[in-house]
């Protein structure tokens, strides 16, 4: 049977094919990815998009968690200062209940207690990045204003929650009224009561007021646990999210990553095939009957 007398087309096709194999291997090696465009593996490319969406969302959760962390820490340390200040008020109450103090000494204590009220109002009006921490969700309103002997709450009882993972959210605040003006544990009320009692010099009233302040203090310490818990929860959340990120990255790699050692092998195979095709071409193409005929 007659064969195609011109092998150059086949030879060129073979050379081109080995070149294409080399290029594919090179592309995979240099990008580290097996899937460089959707057509390389449509299902993997689509899955990678969903995976990357999840990764990016987790990054955001982590970022939101660290924003929350900063805010919660500020709130927590503010409350810590309030507790310290209230402890001073309790000692002042104990001191005033002693009964051996002069009027002027008591007057001094009254002024100190009044100073403590102002301090606590200031602490209760603490803000984080321009938003009041203890105003409920009225974060643009100064939560507590003092006029005369009364402290008024201008915030609301609203709370916010932030999604810190898929399907998990974290309450991020406690309203100022719940913290500072809970009926029965009213911090400003009990402090004012103490000031009034010291002013009057009535020892039993002072004892009552002191125990009211100390009750409010215990209550506030109890409320502070909320912030501690929230911070713990954020820590746990961050740990969980970080390990999920690691999982997703490894899934990503399984989906679209190139097996580098395999690709390197493929590359050297393609190179060998390329050299073989070239060597064959060099042998076959120049062959001609004319070379064997006398030239005269």
């Amino acid at each position: 049977m007659r064969v195609n007398p011109n092998p150059s087309v086949d030879i060129l096709a073979a050379i081109q094919q080995t070149q294409a194999q080399e290029q594919t291997a090179l592309e995979q090696l240099s990008s580290g990815k097996r899937v460089n465009s959707p057509s390389d593996d449509p299902a993997a490319a689509a899955a990678e998009i969903r995976n990357q969406g999840t990764e990016s969302r987790i990054d955001q959760y982590l970022q939101s968690a660290s924003s929350l962390q900063a805010m919660l820490q500020t709130a927590d340390s503010t409350l810590n200062s309030v507790v310290t200040t209230l402890n001073q008020a309790v000692s002042l109450g104990v001191q005033a209940g002693n009964g051996t103090l002069s009027d002027s000494n008591r007057q001094e204590i009254v002024q100190q207690v009044q100073g403590i009220i102002t301090d606590v109002v200031q602490l209760a009006n603490a803000s984080f990045q321009g938003s009041y921490l203890f105003a409920g969700t009225e974060t643009a309103q100064t939560p507590f204003t003092q006029s005369g002997t009364t402290v008024t709450y201008n915030g609301n009882t609203g709370t916010n929650s932030v999604n810190i993972a898929d399907g998990r959210s974290l309450q991020s605040n406690v309203s100022g009224s719940q913290l500072f003006q809970q009926p029965g544990s009213d911090i400003f009320g009990s402090l004012q009561q103490l000031a009034n009692a010291v002013q009057s010099g009535d020892t039993s009233a002072i004892t009552d007021a002191t125990s009211a302040v100390s009750g409010a203090l215990n209550y506030l310490s109890g409320q502070r646990v909320f912030y501690g818990n929230a911070l713990n929860q954020l820590n746990d959340d961050q740990t969980a999210l970080n390990s999920e990120t690691v999982n997703l990255k490894s899934q990503d790699n399984t989906l679209v990553g190139a097996d580098l050692s395999q690709v390197a092998t493929e590359l050297s195979q393609a190179q060998t095939a390329h050299e073989a095709a070239l060597a064959a071409a060099a042998k076959i193409l120049p062959m001609s009957l004319l070379d064997f005929l006398p030239t005269n």
């Binding site: 049977m1 007659r2 064969v3 195609n4 007398p5 011109n6 087309v9 086949d10 096709a13 460089n36 465009s37 959707p38 057509s39 390389d40 593996d41 449509p42 299902a43 490319a45 689509a46 899955a47 990678e48 998009i49 969903r50 990357q52 969406g53 990016s56 969302r57 990054d59 955001q60 959760y61 970022q63 939101s64 924003s67 929350l68 805010m71 990045q129 321009g130 938003s131 009041y132 105003a135 409920g136 969700t137 009225e138 974060t139 643009a140 609301n156 609203g158 916010n160 929650s161 932030v162 999604n163 959210s169 991020s172 001609s288 009957l289 004319l290 005929l293």
Partner: protein
């Protein structure tokens, strides 16, 4: 009875015939690299013998014809494979352009959707913050811009396809015109018992070019070849060609007409078929998916947004412009520019983030297509990728098929230089021998003439 004159005539004729054969060989060698050239062989036959008293005298050789060696069936297969290959290649070319719009996993509509919802999550940590509200608007505008960018690039590809449809139709018309002329010549030559030779080579070459452009079926008739498109619309009948026309329809798509009839949907093969497949079957699906993603996302988000309150305590107004229908993705835009209008609050207080949870939930809410927004986008990427992959494997398969048929054709019709060299030697020897016959007969004639002369 044989005669010296007879031998001389036979030899003289042999010289001419061997020259003719050498001519054919020379022509083959000259055209050994000419595309579409079919090798020619001299058809030598014995001349009619003369019988004299029971002795049959051969009368030498005649050169009956110089005939091209071709296999018309292989040629028909070549047309078929060529149109399939060009169809697939054209699809690959355009699908890869579309694919490029969806290849980058670090940017584009998919990342924008996630980034937008991420900005909302960030806002929920400080819902009153104007700068974080600004970031939400910026992320939403990014998404809108990428919708617009993708749509406008797809539209660009569509326009490109349309221009190429017109160009292809023009090329088809030029080719069918030329084929009709050559067809008439070939038919004439065949009817006179002549070989089509280079005219037929040229015509076949043009038909191969034509089948690169569209699906052609060729039927041999008494008037020569009849060429039709796949559904039977005539392109060339005998010496007559039928031009196609391209004209814009109301949607701005070029339609192909033959003699007043719209044959666009029946064109399946060749480059033209590939262009039309991408333009009329593939791109509309991508546009539809993008549009339903854009309109569904806008509608779901606006519904959630309306349930909240903005920074001033007013009910949330539309966040995205209302977009529906075939221009949803192109019209997708953010309706508000004032960051305080983002309805983050669930109770009207400025620090509430109660509605953001609802807004964030939109990313997990089903669109009318039944998919979540990001899944809907990854669905688009999947369909673009798999269409491209399919076209690529079709292209590889048909390239192989074309190569095989071309090989087969070359094994029948291709010029082998070794073969021609061998023939060259054969004809040279025959020529030399015939010349020797003439010399010998000449000497014999001299001998006869000098018979009886004293010097003999």
């Amino acid at each position: 009875m044989g005669s010296l004159t007879g031998s001389m005539l036979i030899a003289a004729n042999a010289l001419l015939v061997q020259q003719g054969a050498l001519d054919a060989t020379s022509n083959n060698i000259a055209n050994s690299n000419t595309p579409g050239y079919s090798r020619e062989i001299p058809i030598l036959t014995e001349a009619a013998p003369v019988v004299e008293s029971n002795v049959t005298y051969g009368q030498g050789v005649t050169l009956q014809q110089i005939a091209s060696v071709r296999d018309t069936l292989l040629q028909l297969r070549l047309y078929d494979e060529t149109q399939q290959q060009n169809n697939a290649d054209t699809q690959v070319n355009y699908l890869q352009q579309v694919e490029n719009l969806f290849s980058n996993t670090d940017q584009g509509i998919g990342t924008d959707i996630t980034a937008f919802f991420n900005s909302l999550n960030q806002l929920s940590t400080d819902p009153g913050s104007v700068s974080q509200r600004q970031s939400v608007l910026a992320a939403a505008n990014n998404l809108a811009n990428d919708f617009h960018g993708t749509v406008s690039q797809l539209t660009g590809i569509q326009q490109n396809l349309n221009q190429n449809v017109v160009q292809n139709v023009n090329q088809i018309n030029i080719l069918t015109g030329e084929i009709a002329k050559l067809n008439a010549q070939v038919a004439d030559m065949h009817s006179m018992g002549q070989d089509g030779g280079s005219v037929e080579d040229q015509r076949d070459q043009l038909i191969t070019q034509l089948s690169a452009l569209t699906d052609v079926s060729a039927i041999q008739t008494a008037q020569g070849l009849t060429l039709t498109t796949g559904n039977g619309t005539p392109l060339v009948v005998g010496n007559q060609s039928f031009a196609l026309q391209a004209s814009l329809d109301s949607t701005g798509a070029e339609q192909v007409y033959s003699q007043g009839q719209n044959i666009t949907t029946s064109i399946q093969g060749g480059q033209l078929g590939g262009l039309l497949t991408v333009r009329d079957q593939f791109l509309p699906k991508v546009f539809d998916s993008l549009n339903s993603l854009a309109s569904g996302l806008a509608a779901n988000f606006n519904a959630a947004h309306a349930q909240g309150y903005d920074l001033s305590g007013n009910p949330g107004q539309a966040f995205f412009s209302d977009t529906t229908g075939s221009s949803a993705a192109a019209d997708f835009s953010v309706a508000i520019t004032d960051p305080s209008l983002i309805a983050a609050s669930s109770d009207g207080s400025s620090g509430s983030n109660g509605n953001i949870a609802l807004l964030e939930a939109v990313q997990n809410q089903q669109l009318p297509s039944g998919q979540k927004p990001l899944d809907s986008y990854s669905g688009i990427v999947f369909s673009v990728g798999s269409a491209t992959a399919q076209a690529q494997s079709a292209s590889q398969a048909s390239a192989l098929a074309v190569q095989q048929v071309t090989n087969q054709i070359a094994s029948v019709s291709g010029v082998s230089l070794d073969e021609e060299t061998t023939n060259l030697i054969r004809y040279q020897h025959a020529f030399q021998a015939a010349a020797r016959v003439i010399t010998t007969v000449d000497e014999l004639t001299q001998t006869v003439l000098s018979m009886g002369s004293p010097t003999g």
